[in-house]
Each structure stands twice: as structure tokens, then as C-alpha cells.
Amino acid sequence: MAGSIRVSVTTNGPEFRVLSAESSLLRTEHSALRTAARRLRRSPTASLGLVLFTLLLLMAALAPIIAPYDPITILVRERLQPPSPAHLFGTDDFGRDVFSRVVWGSQLAVRLGVLSVLVAATGGVTLGLVAGYYGGWVDNLISRVLEVMLAFPGLLFAIAIVAIVGPGLDNLIVALGIFGWPGYARLVRGSVLSARRREYVEAALAIGAPARRVMLRHILPNVVAPVIILSATRFGGALLAGSGLSFIGLGVPIPQPEWGAIMATGRDYMDRAWWVTVFPGLLIALAVLGVNLLGDGLRDILDPRLRD
């Protein structure tokens, strides 16, 4: 939420000045990205964010290699063992290795974060582009629908969706994704409105370029930066919302090792087996911290108005 507000207040993103041909646009963008990457490395907090995020992705990708045990197979006689060399993070009430569950859980977290952001961004960006580009009644209609969505309490909406289609990661992704549309759409619509007035867009329109092409080639690149920044915030938000819903039993079905769900069962044993709640909680916090720091770094770099 926060990010979307911040960005929508500042409206337009970076300006990629295009001199003549499209090829030069691409080249400029390419070098701009390279400069951005260099700046990212120079900021210590942003680098920390990048490291944490990369670690999260690596953990998810390499889960089968990293995790010493199967995350689902239960071994009743090993239940609630404290952390030891054999079980780095101890075991849970079914004797499952918490470390392995947390590692495999990162796959669910990454899928939840990435896919819900994708659902939110694709839908929201499309709506925003269409509304901003065509204006008129199309804009009016889309804006009204978005207003209705914004006025709708989002978390209740997510609960209702889970009640309708049952618990599951995919349903959670859809629920959180749709709820994200208005944020993107508002952001993009604003950027499009300002981009439309730019010379190069007017030029492209004047030489009769088709609408879709103008939108994709000339306008979309303009909104990439704020969309990326918003996405970082939403990624973290999705992880927190997902764990919150799992906490009240509306998240990912058993026996999947979703972090919030591991915590929810662990809280029953907090006085005897702190490790079941502490480690997944720590992982949630670190993962969200990572994307937040990364988002901050990207904002500093991509939003020139905040640069020194």
C-alpha cells in the first residue's frame, strides 16, 4: 500500500530521452540499466537487499539440494527436537525437519510473491494503459471499476475468495493479485497521461503508428521503473498477507510447508519449542526486508527526483 501511494503521489518516473530512432531508445535504456546496476552495487543497503533477495531465489531454486530431509514425511518419534547438528532448526510436532520445511517453504514464498505481483501488474498495467491511452468513456468506466475495487476491503475480499474456491496457493495468488490491480492501474494511468503529451509520442502518433505499437513501444518503457518499485513493495506485502491468512487457517493447505502455516502450528508449542515459530518468522522478516531494501535502492536509483 505504502509504495503505491508514494509512487502515485510523485506520478511520473524516469525520462528516457529519445533522440530519433527506436534503436537508440533501446540503447539508451540498456545503458541506463547498466548505470542503475552500478549504482545499486554502490549503495550498501540496496546491496544487502539484493543479496537477501538473491539468497531467497537461490534457496527456492536449490531447495532439493539444500534441504537434508523431505519436508513432508513425518517421523513421529523425532517430534519437537531442539536444534542440533542433525536438525539445524529442530523438528516440529510431526518430527519433520524445520530447516527442510523452511527451505522448501521458500519455493512457495517465491511463487506467491512473484506470481501475485505478476497477476497484479499485468492486470493493473493493462487497465492503466488502456484507460490512460484511450481516455473518454473507456477511462471513465475503468476508473469507476477501480474506485469500486479500492473501496472494497481487500483482506475481506481475499478471505471471501478463499472461502469460495477453497484454500490453496493458486487461489491466494489470484486473490492477492486482483486486489493489487487498482494500485498499478492508477500509477500507470497517470504516467501514460503525462507520456502522451511528450513529443516523441506525439510524433509517433503523427506518422500513423498503430495504437498498440505506440503503447507498447513508446509509453510502456516509461512506466517500467515505477512499476518495478511498486512490485518490490507488493512482493513483501504478498508474503505478509499470505502468512497472515495462513495464520488464521485460510492459506495454503497441509502439508505444504508455507512459512505462515508453520508459524501458526508452532505458536501452540511456543513455550516448549520456540524454534518452530522463530525460524520461519525470521525467514519471513528477512525475505520481506530483502525486497523492501531492494525496492528502496531501486527507487533511489530510478527516481531521479530523489537523487542527490
Binding site: 500500500m1 505504502a2 501511494i5 508514494r6 503521489v9 469507476r144 471499476v145 474506485e147 469500486v148 479500492l150 473501496a151 472494497f152 476491503p153 481487500g154 483482506l155 475481506l156 478471505i159 471471501a160 472461502a163 469460495i164 513483501g236 505478509l240 502468512s243 497472515g244 495464520f247 488464521i248 505462515g260 508459524m263 505458536r267 511456543m270 518468522g281 519471513i284 522478516a285 528477512l286 520481506v288 526486508l289 523492501n292 531494501l293 528502496d296 527526483r305 530523489l306
Partner: protein, 306 residues
């Protein structure tokens, strides 16, 4: 100004209409109709059918929706399926608590968030800035329910300063309000800092400084006033979502708020209550946005209403 407000209020009507229709259609998709849930685990098919008839659920959908609208025209949101009381009564009974919690959270988060933001901005680049913003970003990254559980363990069980339950004293309000405010305090701290930095770099602040105004005066009078613009937007948006989105905190602390009512109503399939709470939250959202826009104009005279 009055004309602007009236226009905005009129524009809100189609939005609310859309919300109510959206809720109504969504509820039709939810498996398990109210009769089934009310009748319980051991009811016979005949009894379920009878309850369905009593509740008017055997009517065609458009008729059901029109009945709802008709009630609405008479100023009623219908009766709760569970308690048989007016939905309005049920909501109004809980609304003061929700309002108290939301206000407390907004005040706490604004005071602490803005203070942290100013502190970080004037110490820009120094250790104090780094630590303050570090705390803020950690606050953003930790799940709220987790904080709530930790607060209970610390303040209610270990230190025994605050009660675990209840809702009739300011002490009881403290923990849920703090838990609820942490996240938005972090957001506000970050935004205050960046808006302040933005403003402090601008001509008129430099001018003010150059005129020899003392640092504190410069910050409070000029920079902060401008930095408050995004903060006020944020308060408006958060206020709307705090009203309906606080239910996890409300559940943990047993706070008798609207959010918990709404979630319980979803599980109970108490459709009139769901309609009512969602509409209330939508109204609150639209109103707080309107207030924000008015405050906006007051803070930033460049904005004109037309």
C-alpha cells in the same frame, strides 16, 4: 468548496452501488448458503429448505437484490441471519470500538512515524538516520500477528502491566493499537523522511535559511508542512483499510470491532451483515478520501477545487 463536497458525495453513490452489487454477486458464488450453515451439521433437508424459505433465499436473485435495495431506501440494511437484529444496530454497536482502535493507531503511527521521519531527515547520512530507518524497514517486514503475540507475552504475561482482554479501558486499547500502528508508523517514517529531504532541497527553504531563520523553525514551519501532504493522503487511505483490515489484531486481542464482525459473518454466511460491513467500510473509505482531499487543499494552496 461546498459545491465540491456535494459533487464528490454524489459521485460516491454509483461507487457504493457498484460495491453493493459486487458483494451481492460474490456472495452468490460462496459455497454453503446461509440456511445450510444456520441449520448446522445435523439438520434434515426439509428443515434446511424451510429456513431457506424463511430467509427468502428461494427467491430469484434479481428479486433478492431488489429487496435489499428496497430495504436500503427505507434506511435499513436488513436483519442479521444469526441474531435477528438490525444490521445497523449490530454495526453501530461495534463501530465505536473500531473507530477508537483506528484513531488510536492513526494517532500513534503518525506521531511516532513523523517524529522518526523528521529525526532521520535532519540527521541525514549520520548513524542516527541509518538506525532510525533500519528500525522502520524492519517494522515494515515483520508480520503484525507476530508482533501482537510478542506484545501479549511481554506486557501482559511477563511484566503484567496491561490486561490481556477487555475493551473498556484505555489500557486495553494500548496493545492492539500499538500492534496495529507499527506497520503504518514505519511507512510514515519513511515517507516523512523522503518528503522532508525533497522539500529541504528546495529554493524557498534555502531562502528561509539564508534569511537566518533558526533551523527548528525552518523545519517545522516550512519543510514539515509540505511533507505533511503525502502523510495526510496516507492517513486517509490507511484509515479506510484500518476499519476493515484490522480483524487479525481484533481476533488476537478479542477486540469487539467491525472487522471481526465481518469475518465471522463470512464464516456464518450472514449475508446481510457482510453487505452492511462492506458498505460501511466503503463509505468510510470514500469519506476519509474526501477529507484528505480537503485537507490537501488547505495544506497546498496550489490545488484548486473545480
Amino acid at each position: 468548496m461546498t459545491r465540491y463536497i456535494i459533487r464528490r458525495l454524489i459521485l460516491a453513490i454509483p461507487v457504493l452501488f457498484g460495491v453493493s452489487l459486487g458483494v451481492f454477486l460474490m456472495l452468490q458464488l460462496v459455497p454453503g448458503d446461509p440456511a445450510l450453515v444456520v441449520a448446522g451439521d445435523s439438520a434434515s433437508p426439509e428443515t434446511i429448505a424451510r429456513i431457506r424459505h424463511e430467509l427468502g433465499l428461494d427467491q430469484p436473485l434479481p428479486i433478492q437484490y431488489l429487496t435489499f435495495l428496497e430495504h436500503l431506501l427505507h434506511g435499513s440494511l436488513g436483519k442479521s441471519i444469526r441474531s435477528n437484529r438490525e444490521v445497523m444496530t449490530e454495526i453501530l454497536e461495534r463501530f465505536p470500538y473500531t473507530l477508537a482502535l483506528a484513531l488510536a493507531a492513526v494517532v500513534l503511527s503518525t506521531v511516532f512515524g513523523v517524529a522518526m521521519g523528521i529525526f532521520a531527515a535532519i540527521n541525514r547520512g549520520r548513524a542516527a538516520d541509518f538506525v532510525t530507518m533500519g528500525i522502520a524497514i524492519i517494522g515494515l517486514s515483520v508480520p503484525t500477528f507476530w508482533i501482537a503475540l510478542l506484545l501479549i507475552m511481554l506486557f501482559a504475561l511477563t511484566l503484567r502491566w496491561l490486561p490481556v482482554t477487555g475493551a473498556s479501558s484505555w489500557q486495553a486499547l494500548l496493545m492492539p493499537a500499538v500492534a496495529l500502528s507499527l506497520h503504518s508508523a514505519a511507512v510514515k517514517a519513511r515517507i516523512t523522511r523522503s518528503s522532508m529531504l525533497e522539500v529541504m532541497g528546495q529554493e524557498y527553504i534555502r531562502t528561509a535559511r539564508a534569511k537566518g531563520l533558526r533551523e527548528r523553525g525552518v523545519i517545522l514551519r516550512h519543510a514539515l508542512k509540505n511533507a505533511l501532504i503525502p502523510i495526510s493522503t496516507l492517513i486517509g487511505l490507511q484509515f479506510g483499510s484500518l476499519l476493515g483490515g484490522a480483524f487479525i489484531i481484533e481476533t488476537i486481542f478479542g477486540w469487539p470491532g467491525v472487522g471481526r464482525l465481518a469475518v465471522q459473518a463470512i464464516f456464518n454466511r450472514d449475508f446481510p451483515i457482510i453487505q452492511g460491513t462492506v458498505l460501511l467500510i466503503a463509505v468510510a473509505y470514500l469519506l476519509s478520501n474526501l477529507v484528505v482531499d480537503i485537507v490537501y487543499g488547505w495544506l497546498d494552496p496550489r490545488i484548486r477545487y473545480n
